[in-house]
């Protein structure tokens, strides 16, 4: 069973559209994250939710809105897509926010978003 699954794997869309990427984890983790990997390969955190509560919200345009219906899901909605949004988006989860959380960070396989 896939621990952290995100769909779709590939997403090609036109500028101005609204799209969503879904993420689900079956590990029973309390914390989930969205990371963005840009064309220069930097992985940057966007959001983090702990038990459905937003705990990290980096400087991200408000066109990006995470939604956590329950602690096993963290979906990413993007409104009015722009060319610069093209990137690979990774979902991740960890059991808690303790010191050793980084070793228990599980990533999804990524969603390659291409905005035309």
């Amino acid at each position: 069973d896939t621990a952290v699954s995100q769909t779709p794997k590939y997403l090609v869309t036109q500028m101005g559209n609204d799209k969503s990427i879904k993420c689900e984890q079956n590990l029973g983790h309390d914390t989930m994250y969205w990371y963005k990997q840009d064309s220069k390969k930097f992985l940057k955190i966007m959001f983090s939710y702990n038990n459905k509560e937003l705990i990290i919200n980096e400087t991200v345009p408000n066109r990006f809105s995470p939604k956590s219906p329950d602690k096993a899901h963290l979906n990413l909605h993007i409104n009015s897509l722009e060319l610069g949004d093209s990137a690979v988006y990774f979902c991740a989860s960890s059991p808690d926010r303790s010191r050793s959380w980084g070793e228990k960070l599980f990533f999804g396989s990524g969603t390659q978003l291409s905005v035309l």
């Binding site: 930097f42 955190i45 010191r99 050793s100 070793e103």
Partner: protein, 116 residues
């Protein structure tokens, strides 16, 4: 803000060659250090970690990394690579805190290609 630097983004080498990937970080406090690996078509997974103690840590698949505090470095090494080590390698750093800090900062990654 802390940053993580990885140089030589593309590395091509032959099987049995030795591999060393450099990682430098800018944060001055106590840190936790990680190397993640992403094999083609797969998700990111933890290769090894350092929290404290022996600065030479051993990970899976024959990889090791050495923490040199004075140089703010955490370089990854493998004495003899195999074709199956072809992957992208990411160094990551988080601040050590009893309250937890989910801002895991990643380097740009090293694309390693091992030629049979």
């Amino acid at each position: 803000a802390q940053s993580v630097s990885q140089h030589n983004h593309h590395v091509i080498l032959s099987e049995a060659a030795s591999l060393e990937l450099g990682c430098n970080y800018s944060y001055g406090g106590t840190v936790n250090l990680f190397w993640y690996v992403q094999y083609p078509g797969q998700h990111l997974q933890l290769l090894l970690k350092y929290f404290s103690g022996d600065p030479l840590v051993k990970g899976i698949k024959g990889f090791e990394a050495e923490f040199i505090k004075s140089k703010f470095s955490f370089n990854l090494r493998k004495p003899s690579v195999q074709w199956s080590d072809t992957a992208e390698y990411f160094c990551a750093v988080s601040r050590s805190s009893a309250y937890g800090n989910n801002r895991l900062a990643f380097g740009k990654g090293n694309q390693v290609v091992v030629i049979p």
